[in-house]
């Protein structure tokens, strides 16, 4: 924390607090996030019994924010994991094998990057159909190139190091080289890359839900809550502004944490 400074540190703490609360939400004395109460609709924040007010169906906004946070974080985390898995595999193979394999794999990755990534994600959603799981797949796929290219860059260097050569001379198989020698050395790179993309993924999945292509009712993540609130923004701005604020705090917390993590794991690449 000392590295971050109090201002940045407090953002990370705030995001961590939100994430923690969202995980504990079922245990907290909160209203049911899906309980509709039409006589209590659109209460302003600080109303009795509803700390952050209620939405257009009279549902408690605080409870919904926490359940939405949990869903958004889960989707973003899953997308980051899927993307990291495939991207790391492709990048490590390309970097280790080199030559023709490297060329084929990386040209394939280049093609994934030929489209602006959000447009490509939309094309994937068009094929798969709207829905949160499909949004997750789309966001994962469009972020694979980032991992593949980052990991390949490091793997190329590692594959030429003496300990790998020595391992090969001693009769170690390619698989053994990849898993025992390359992968452990790639972990810092992948961790930093995953933290960085986690923040984007959060913004992107929330964005797809905002467009109505991600979470479908009754399922609600932060993006779809923002979209719901947008219709009444002029009269009840808090319904739309609060989910957006939560997305911002979470993304900022994750990004600041990622920056600090990178500085800590790789002091040469400070910026």
């Amino acid at each position: 924390m000392k590295r971050l400074g109090w201002f940045r540190g407090s953002f990370v703490m705030l995001a961590a607090l939100l994430a923690g609360l969202s995980l504990l939400a079922p245990l907290l004395p909160l209203a049911n996030p899906d309980a509709v109460n039409l006589s209590q609709r659109l209460l302003p924040p600080l109303a009795e019994g509803h700390l952050l007010g209620t939405d257009t169906l009279g549902r408690d906004i605080l409870a919904r924010l926490l359940s939405g946070t949990r869903l958004s974080l889960a989707v973003a985390l899953a997308a980051a994991a899927v993307s990291a898995f495939f991207g790391t595999t492709i990048g490590a193979l390309a970097g280790y094998l080199g030559g023709l394999w490297d060329n084929v794999l990386m040209r394939g990755i280049d093609l994934l990057m030929a489209f602006p990534y959000l447009i490509f994600a939309l094309a994937l959603v068009a094929v798969l159909g709207p829905g949160l799981d499909n949004a997750l797949i789309a966001i994962s796929v469009v972020n694979i190139p980032f991992f593949a290219r980052t990991v390949r860059g490091v793997a190329v260097g590692l594959a030429r190091r003496q300990f790998v050569e020595a391992g090969r001379v001693l009769g170690g198989s390619h698989l053994r080289m990849l898993f025992r020698h390359l992968l452990p050395n790639l972990i810092p790179t992948v961790t930093v890359a995953a933290t960085t993309t986690f923040g984007w993924m959060l913004l992107e999945t929330a964005g797809l839900s905002f467009l109505g292509l991600g979470a479908q009712p009754p399922q609600a993540d932060l993006g779809s809550m923002l979209a719901d609130g947008r219709k009444l923004m002029l009269v009840h701005p808090h319904v739309a502004l609060l989910p957006g604020l939560v997305i911002f705090i979470l993304a900022a917390g994750i990004n600041l944490f990622g920056d600090a993590l990178r500085d800590w794991l790789d002091p040469t690449r400070k910026d």
Binding site: L111, P116, Y117, I119, A126, G207, L241, G244, F248
Partner: protein, 315 residues
């Protein structure tokens, strides 16, 4: 230089082929086929079969692909069934609107991003730099769709400075001034995030240049600091950032989807979202194709520009 451009243009041919192929394969992955998707769940098998023949879906895969490719070259992208209009006309019209918005946002990205990056590198340890650094950090974490809503609430609803949406006023519009007034808020909302990313990179690149030996030489021979920063550090930093500006153009084209939805901008992003909801796959295909191809050419332009400005790349 001409040889380089020619080589790059030649290299575009296989890339374009591959990109169209990916898009074609992607659309083939739709459950059922385009004919079923178009006619919906209540269509009779006879009607589906007739449409399938009409769309040549009964032909072998590669015959279909090259047939489609030939159609594209002839400028025929099919008919958007949800609009009952040629895809080409709709897509080109919408893309024009997107280019206006993306152009405005890209201008914001370049002016603010490069400016802020320059400031951060020049005043590396000042209080101002700390504030700007925090702003760029906030910028990369801001959901642009939320920022757009904040702008509408503040500048349109509360202050009545600028219109809340649309491209032209309903009455007496269609003038350049009217367009520019409508353009300010969406292009700011879209451009600020890209500007934050650009600023961070510009700062890093400029500091990299400033740590070089020739900068020390320039300072030692008594060159004014303004010239050191402006002539040496800025220009060389800028050249290194050009490819990233190409990527930002892609971000701006993609992010336009959100901003167009919020500001009711009649661009291609909003069209894509509507087309997905209407399951109008030909329209999606045409839109993605046009944006993708333009993006390829933007990046080509960025590479050529960098090549022209950086003598080291000439070898």
């Amino acid at each position: 230089m001409t040889a380089y451009i020619f080589k790059r243009l030649l290299y575009m041919v296989p890339v374009l082929l591959a990109v169209t192929f990916i898009l074609f394969v992607l659309m083939k992955l739709v459950p059922g086929d385009a004919a079923e998707a178009m006619l919906g769940p209540y269509a009779t098998p006879e009607n589906v079969e007739r449409l399938r023949e009409d769309m040549q879906l009964d032909q072998p895969f590669f015959v279909q692909y090259f047939g489609w490719l030939g159609d594209i070259v002839r400028g025929d992208l099919g008919t958007a069934y949800s609009l009952d209009r040629p895809v080409r006309d709709e897509v080109l019209e919408r893309f024009g609107a997107t280019l206006v918005l993306a152009g405005g946002a890209f201008l914001v990205c370049c002016l603010l991003g490069l400016g802020a990056g320059f400031f951060l590198a020049a005043r590396e340890h000042g209080t101002g730099a700390k504030v700007v650094t925090l702003m760029t950090l906030a910028g990369i974490s801001l959901p642009s769709f939320w920022l757009g809503l904040l702008f509408i609430l503040l500048f349109a609803v509360e202050l009545h400075w600028l219109p809340a949406g649309g491209m032209y006023s309903l009455f007496g519009g269609e003038t350049l001034g009217d367009l520019l007034r409508h353009l300010v808020l969406p292009s700011l909302a879209l451009g600020l995030v890209a500007a934050a990313v650009t600023a961070r990179l510009m700062r890093t690149q400029m500091l990299e240049v400033l740590s070089q030996g020739y900068i020390r030489t320039a300072r030692a021979k008594g060159l004014r600091e303004a010239k050191v920063l402006g002539k040496h550090a800025f220009i060389n930093g800028f050249i290194a950032v050009i490819p990233v500006l190409g990527l930002q153009a892609g971000y701006v084209l993609g992010g336009a989807v959100y901003i167009e939805t919020i500001f009711q901008w009649p661009g291609i992003g909003r069209m894509l979202v509507q087309a997905i909801q209407a399951r109008d796959l030909l329209l999606v295909q045409g839109g993605v194709l046009l944006v993708g191809v333009s993006y390829l050419f933007i990046n080509l332009l960025a590479d050529v520009l960098q090549h022209a400005l950086d003598p080291r790349l000439k070898q």
